[in-house]
Amino acid sequence: MIRDITIGQYYATESIIHKLDPRVKVVCTFAYIISLFCFNQLSGYIIAALFFWCITKLSKVPFKFIVRGIKPILFMLVFTALLNLFWTSGEHILIKYGVITITAEGVKRTIFMALRLVFLIIGSSLMTLATTPNQLTDAIEKLLRPLNKLKVPVHEVAMMMSIALRFIPILVEETDKIMKAQLARGADFESGNIFHRIKSMAPIIIPLFVSAARRATDLALAMDARCYNGGEGRTKMKPLKYKKQDIIAYLIMLLYITVIIIAGKYLPF
């Protein structure tokens, strides 16, 4: 059923990683991504891969779910790889054929760059697989709270995100309904050139906007009726609280970063 589509890609299971405070997961994912740019030799990649493998095992998320995240960026990956391969100049020329030169430095850089991108993607995939969208918005709200002082409406943005999460499936279903209704009236969305097709979308987009606007006014009334008054004076049903395991997770992350930096400095390969 179309209502079953999930935003994000939460993989529901019980694991230590799932139970961690979502803030830990967001912060550590960022730290991990940054760590990928702190080294430039093979040993660093080996450490990063090992670390990632351990976390994945702990999270109990099947590996095939994690690599699925690479698919949408496969094209970009290949494209940057090719750019790196052909445009890196160096001393050790491997192949020279007309304008095409491939150097040993180019090959090395290509592989490292691709690996970096892959780790970046699967790292953030793992985070979204092990954290519900709700927890993610909660974490973002709490982590960005200091920005409140700069008059950034952090609570409001988080509220908007969570409302969007609730209404996207409903609007998707509605689009489907409107499309079928217009098809029944003889609308044709498939034929004609691109401009023609874009124009034929109007009978879907307009009713969809009208209905979304009506839902928005209704929802605003309902929120008013339930005493919603912005973030001030609000309590939380599920407040985020750091527990022992979260502190340990931070410490492990710190350890990993230290190891990566030291390895980058002192290991010869």
Binding site: R3, R166, A222, A225, R226, C227, G233, R234, T235, M237
Partner: protein
């Protein structure tokens, strides 16, 4: 005793404006409403489309304020801005469209939304969420996504969300209009139980006649005015007048009326199918 809800000469005008904000037309949606409701009562408001029911309901929650006249909810004047939040705590509101009033994508979190806004402490929120989900019979769905529930179930979640705010009164604006018959029954049953067991004042707005049979008192609205009022029996006995306001009496009452027109000696104010079968059986066996 002072009435819990007291409307006197309530008038509400919607004004249509052009782009510059000049008033181009006035629509008098409420035109001098007088309604009194006792605490713990169950009243129903009936009326055809556009009769002003929703406009009245929104006044009870201070979502709209009177253009003229006064409305007091639990002694608080709704036209004073500072009373807005206290009034919304006292009188909860359930709307027609179940999808557009559920805010969160987990059932229990949605029920907790009102108490969160009111600043209720965390443990107390959990207690209230559990209690109100149980009282509408939806406790086992607490971890689900509302998107997977039926309309009737969603409406009960919405009611639970209001219950968790511990209001003294719940206003339901056509809560069953988008539901199928079984969903409708479940919602109305829930509402009646809340009224009986928890002594919550209920104001049920509807245009389904069958739903008002349990009410203490019924108001019939048309063109922004209260045209008829009385107990359900008193109101339904006047079926010709109801038809004038584009309302129809329940099926059973209609059958009884038809029979009595045919010369059978039967009361005109029958509300329940069991009542009718009872009387018909008595007539058949010659008791009546």
């Amino acid at each position: 005793m002072k009435p819990f809800i007291n409307a006197k000469g309530l008038v509400h005008e919607y004004s249509r404006r052009d782009e510059e904000g000049n008033v181009t037309g006035i629509n008098r949606a409420l035109d001098g409403i007088d309604i009194e409701v006792k605490a713990g009562g169950f009243i129903a408001v009936l009326g055809a489309n556009g009769s002003g029911k929703s406009t009245f309901a929104k006044h009870l929650n201070a979502l709209l304020v009177p253009t003229e006249g006064t409305l007091y909810v639990d002694g608080m004047d709704t036209s004073e801005q500072k009373n807005n939040l206290p009034i919304r705590r006292t009188a909860g509101m359930v709307f027609q469209n179940p999808d557009n009033q559920i805010i969160s994508n987990v059932v229990e979190e949605d029920v907790g939304f009102g108490p969160e806004n009111m600043g209720v402490p965390t443990e107390e929120i959990w207690r209230r969420v559990e209690e109100s989900l149980k009282s509408v019979g939806m406790y086992e769905y607490r971890k689900d996504s509302p998107n997977h529930l039926s309309g009737g179930q969603k409406q009960r979640i919405a009611i639970a969300g209001i219950m968790a705010m511990k209001p003294k009164c719940i206003v339901l604006d056509e809560p069953t209009a988008m539901l199928d018959p079984s969903g409708r029954k479940a919602v109305i049953k829930t509402v009646k139980e809340l009224n009986k067991k928890e002594n919550i004042t209920i104001i049920l707005i509807t245009h389904y006649m069958e739903e008002v049979t349990g009410a203490d008192y019924v108001y019939v609205m048309s063109e922004g005015q209260v045209k008829m009022k009385g107990t359900p029996r008193q109101v339904f006995a006047r079926s010709e007048e109801l038809a004038k306001y584009r309302l129809m009496v329940p099926e059973v009452t209609k059958i009884a009326l038809g029979l009595s027109k045919k010369g059978i000696n039967i009361p005109k104010d029958i509300l329940y199918p069991e009542e009718l079968t009872d009387i018909l059986l008595k007539i058949k066996s010659g008791v009546l």
